[in-house]
Symmetry: C2
Subunit: 437 residues, 2 copies
């Protein structure tokens, strides 16, 4: 009798621990070949020469990529929907469809002439996680959503994380409709030309719509590679501030005006670029400052420039030190303008606050790494991601995998099949666990 009671107690205890702390998911068998093929096909929707990838929001390549993604999601038995800006949702319905869902995803737009993995790995990696969970017979409790975000990159409309910001309500309709691309095309025309004709409306998604959001992404730097560790778990995301500085002068004929009479705005821009470099070199491990866009007008060999315009991107996990770099550099830009007798105008494109990842999700991701015996490293993400904004509304976590040489936003951006496979395994395990939490 005592034995029977003990047996009964042990049985109940096991059942309880199985369902909570020691919840166990069958190991998945990731089909890495299939995933990489999908990535490569998606990479073909590009306005430029492969392997350099250019896929701007609402371009014809973007439109084609959207059709491809929707077809892939539907082929895997997911129900697909989208919102007015074109965030695409592919749902694997759980046994408790009314419970807040678990979501995973990333973006599929690119900068100009960029790489194959940035963003797309988080979209197609989430699909592969779902496919491989289905293949081992896993059944989710909470539904699992794959989100393919509209435009995380700044390449078309000059602002980042457009889709995720719209989703969480941190981008107003007024801001959206004011956007224009460099050809003067406004956001609404572009959106509608891509087939998204529903009215924009303020986000109605409440904080309990998702119980968790997890994004798989390449590291875009070489810490994991240097340490030989396959998985990075993000603790914080550094956030960017973007400014535009333009200097203007009278121009003139390249043959006529003597050098000592010139008021050349490009020389002002050059002087600024070198002074900015000196400023951030004082603290190279923290502040990042980049001049990525340079436009000199009119741009003729025979004309002294009349205008030079730069983008100034500053990133830090520490908002204060980011602001200090901004203040010092804009002061310097103005001093250079005075000295060179050119005018200067600055505009502030955006500043986002840094984000902290959710401790509970980090814990689940650590458990998931252990389930597969993967070493992992907790680290800061200096690039920003849709997770920066998803974290403002939902508990959020990010899984990083190494990429070759830490290179990203370049055509030779590369992640190995093994690293991709490991990242998807950790993601699958994490999503499965979160769907029962």
């Amino acid at each position: 009798m005592l034995n029977l009671q003990l047996f009964y107690f042990l049985f109940l205890f096991s059942l309880l621990t199985f369902c909570t702390a020691n919840f166990s998911v069958p190991h998945v068998s990731v089909n890495t070949e299939r995933l990489i093929e999908d990535l490569k096909i998606l990479g073909q929707f590009s306005d430029g020469d492969y392997p350099g990838i250019t896929r701007l929001l609402y371009s014809k390549e973007d439109k084609a990529a959207r059709r491809y993604l929707v077809a892939l999601f539907e082929k895997s038995g997911l129900s697909v929907s989208w919102d007015p800006v074109g965030n695409i949702f592919a749902r694997w319905e759980g046994s408790d469809p009314r419970a807040p869902a678990v979501a995973s995803g990333s973006h599929f737009d690119t900068l100009l002439n960029a790489g194959l993995y940035d963003g797309t790995l988080g979209v197609l990696g989430a699909l592969e996680a779902v496919r491989s969970l289905k293949e081992v017979g896993f059944e989710p409790k909470r539904s699992i959503d794959i989100i393919a975000f509209t435009s995380e990159e700044v390449s078309r409309f000059g602002i980042g994380c457009l889709g995720s910001r719209y989703l969480v309500g941190s981008l107003s309709i007024e801001e959206l409709v004011k956007l224009k691309d460099s050809d003067g095309v406004d956001f609404e025309s572009a959106r509608k030309s891509c087939g998204y004709t529903e009215r924009l409306e303020d986000s109605k998604i409440s904080e309990d719509f998702y119980s968790a959001f997890v994004e798989l992404h390449i590291e875009q730097y070489h810490i994991l590679e240097d340490e030989g560790i396959p998985i990075g778990l993000v603790t914080d995301i550094a956030a960017p501030a973007l400014y535009t500085i333009e200097w203007k002068g009278p121009g003139g004929h390249a043959g006529s005006v003597p050098s000592n009479e010139r008021q050349d705005p490009f020389l002002a821009a050059s002087e600024f670029a070198l002074s900015l470099e000196q400023l951030v070199l004082r603290d190279p491990k923290n502040s990042r400052a980049t001049i990525g866009r340079v436009e000199v007008y009119p741009g003729s060999a025979g004309a002294i420039p009349r205008s030079a315009r730069l983008s100034l991107d500053i990133r830090d996990i520490n908002e204060e030190s980011r602001t200090r770099v901004k203040d010092l550099s804009l002061e310097k830009a103005a001093a250079i303008a005075r000295k060179r007798k050119v005018t200067m105008e600055t505009s502030h494109n955006y500043s986002y606050p840094p984000a902290r990842m959710d401790q509970r999700i980090i814990q689940v991701m650590e458990d998931s790494c252990r389930a597969y015996n993967f070493r992992y490293l907790k680290l800061v993400s200096r690039p920003f991601h849709d997770s920066l904004f998803m974290a403002t509304k939902f508990p959020t976590g990010m899984i990083f995998i190494p990429c070759n040489g830490g290179k990203s936003h370049v055509p030779d951006e590369y992640a190995s099949p093994d690293d991709i496979s490991h990242g998807v395994e950790v993601l699958a395990e994490t999503l499965a666990r979160l769907s029962y939490q």
Copy 2:
């Protein structure tokens, strides 16, 4: 009898001097309003917002401008023809049509967002000179050709004086057919799309085709304005050398790579620009060096540049000192590349020899100024012109008029109606005298 002989002798002597040294042309009455209206209409054929003028070779605006010019020439009773590259010739036949003709003209293409007078004044001013000579009953002995040159500016195909170089045979067909614009359109496609479908052929125009060439042009600097002198007579034309320098680095993500690990080609370009400025500031009255075209690739705010490409335009009347500036600056560019661990490539777009204007023509222009009681100044042209190449084959001269603030290649380029009128008067007188020489 002695009186009669003396009278007879004096009569013959007067006749002789009238026909040679003291050849006299009736003063013309320039219709400045008509000329300025023509200039403004021509300015409407522009791909951009007036008053900024953009008319690139073989563009639809150029094609429309050509139709307009041909119609104007024909309306004035001139016989119009053109060559395979689209140099347009409008001939006023003289009483001795087999004698080498006198020619006057300039270009009608522009840089990007440029002014109304550069080039066009020399085309329509020559037409006004011819119209006003016709109106006072003047009849030329040598025929007078107005030449509207195809593309003096570098704005579409990257080389200057394309039309005049083709005309004098200093631009080979092999060089021409290799040209591509920045969109990759080749010269032959562009030429044919503009309606010039005849085969290109090497220049058949011999040195005795024209006895003289005279170009009317705005000064593009402010010496005449500063001195309050209405007419400049050019003695020498400084000639340009154009190079392209490109630095390349690995690029990378703006958030990831710390400043001390970057190999940023735009910072190399900036450092070069400032060192070039220092170099030419040592001798600001002679060397002119200009970075007018700057292209940074990929040009995204979130990506460290992978490439920065500059145009380097150096001009001097002294070929040796021009070469010295080139040598020193390219050495510096290479040193910067080594220091910053970026690669560098340079290409040599062109170098032209400086030109000396013809003494006999300068003498005729001086006489013409005196005929109208205009003060004049002999000066050097630092900008180059079609005259730089016409001078390689024909005796050549240039008449400058002041332009406001010396500004050129900018939308507010301006020459006053009075100055325009005086320039055309001197041109008309000069052409008339040259047609009898």
